[in-house]
Amino acid sequence: MLSVEVFQTMPVPLAARFDCRPGELVALVGPSGSGKSTLLRCIAGLMHPSRGRISCNDRIWFDSESKLRLAPQQRRVGLVFQHYALFPHLSALSNVALASARPDADTHAADLLGRLGLVGLAERRPSELSGGQQQRVALARALAREPDVLLLDEPFSAVDQPARHELYRELAELHRAVALPIVLVTHDLHEARRLADRMVIIDGGTTLQQGTPAQVLSQPRNARVAELVGIQNHFEGVFLHGSEAGWGRLQWGADGGTELHVRDKGRIEEGAAVSWVVPAEHIGVHRHAPRGPNVQRARLSEALPLGDIALCRFDMLNVRAAVQLHQTTAQLQRGELVVGEEVFLQFDPSGVHIMPRHVGLRWRKGEKRTLSL
């Protein structure tokens, strides 16, 4: 198992802690400049943090207390660089064979290239290969080391969209085939959600939350995570205990506004200012008032067509807030939804996730606010 705990303030601030078990694919997700690649470089031994400890399979690679700093050559790390960093003067075969410590390095390399679908391309130089083929050579080179951990630094960013989907499939297959801890750095949430067993959200070098993609995306730990994972329906309110055990009330909006019936997990105090999110799949849109709790009146104020789907903005009538949802363009064309008309939105209580408000959260000017989705 790979265990990482790194801390430093300069030159890139880091306060990160995460594990990756054999056979597990962990995605480090964060906006550009959040320190994800720096973290990967620390694991590979290409830079050393000020404090911390990095170990893999009971072998310590870095320990600031005992001043242990293994060089990259001593760590058995397979690293696929963002732009692959293939050796441009060597053939694909030599690129891979150079990383193999086996006596039959050439045979080993040819076997790896074959397994990654590069039969017949072994003698080509990187400049004679497509982006996807270069990526496979880089992956073969990383595996030729017979590494204890596989690190992938935005490996799909330099590949065009059609090739990217094929490579996703291949990585998923590789993930099933090898019992290695795999750490994938990406700023693409779709990629992380599709490939990762667990996601680690990083911002400003700090790990903010880790969990399965479903957990992180539906239950962000705080407002910053919600912003980072691009949750559109993110609001503020006041939490109140309910009369029924296990249920509470969420006051939405200033001066009372409106109230929602929500779960009370006993973690938030009465009257606490909170941030809350609700994933789109937990919001129902109805033309007629449905039965059940949390039905709120809203007006469809805007519908922005995006091909088969349309991004719809619903202005709430009882509170100054707007809910954004994707609806099918067909619904609009059939007149089931008409811009300017009133509808009823129903918020599923089990989908409403309440978080302590992140006090003092300020955006830096020009900062990229969300990850690409």
């Binding site: 060089a71 050559q73 150079l98 410590a101």
Partner: protein, 222 residues
């Protein structure tokens, strides 16, 4: 045509290029990758021979290495080495004046090797030494040959330092450029023209090699 001068010139140029190369490889790689604060000063010092008049360098070498100087006396007494008006002295002077011609192309070539490629080699398990031999040197090879060719061509044409440090001793320190000057002084323009043509041809060939190699750089194929 002064064949002795041609022999001295070719020997001096070839030896200068060959013997200056190993240390220059080390220095230029360090300059290309180092983040040391002393680097700008060292770079400036190594470029200085390009700006100083050759006669100034020759004068300093003559006064600091001559028999009357402390260094010259020490070298003669302890190593039996005389660096003024000898071929060895010419070689030493050639090293100094050719430092920028050798180091500049090498430094640029090493600096052009992406850091990620060097790091990929380390992560692939290659030691620093193997990374240098298998990755950096082959990628910097056009720069290595360019540095050697420029040094060779520049040494062939050097006049001021050679005259100051080596003098004009036939078969020992008289190079083609000195011989041309000598022939012009003696109104033997035919011989001067022949030797000038040889120098032009050799320098042109050396520069053609530099440009030809520059086009076959694997780093530019991507």
């Amino acid at each position: 045509m002064d064949w002795d001068a041609a022999r001295v010139s070719l020997l001096l140029s070839g030896l200068t290029a060959l013997t200056l190369l190993p240390a220059s490889l080390w220095v230029s790689r360090w300059l290309a990758t180092s983040t040391s604060r002393s680097r700008p000063l060292i770079e400036a010092a190594l470029l200085l021979p390009l700006l100083l008049p050759p006669t100034v360098i020759g004068f300093y070498l003559l006064t600091s290495l001559g028999g009357a100087s402390t260094v010259g006396t020490w070298l003669a007494q302890h190593l039996g080495l005389h660096l003024v008006f000898t071929f060895e002295g010419l070689l030493f002077a050639s090293w100094l004046i050719n430092l920028p011609f050798m180091i500049q192309p090498l430094q640029r070539a090493f600096a052009a090797v992406p850091r990620s490629v060097r790091e990929a080699a380390w992560v692939s398990g290659l030691s620093d030494w193997r990374t240098f031999w298998r990755i950096e040197l082959p990628l910097a090879w056009p720069g290595v040959l360019a540095g050697a060719a420029l040094t060779f061509a520049h040494t062939l044409g050097e006049f001021g330092v050679v005259l100051m440090v080596g003098g004009n001793i036939a078969g020992q320190t008289r190079t083609l450029s000195i011989a041309i000057y000598d022939r012009v002084q003696a109104f033997d323009n035919t011989a001067a023209q022949q030797m000038s043509l040889v120098l032009v041809g050799l320098s042109l060939a050396a520069l053609a090699i530099v440009f030809a190699l520059g086009r076959r750089n694997p780093l530019q194929e991507r």
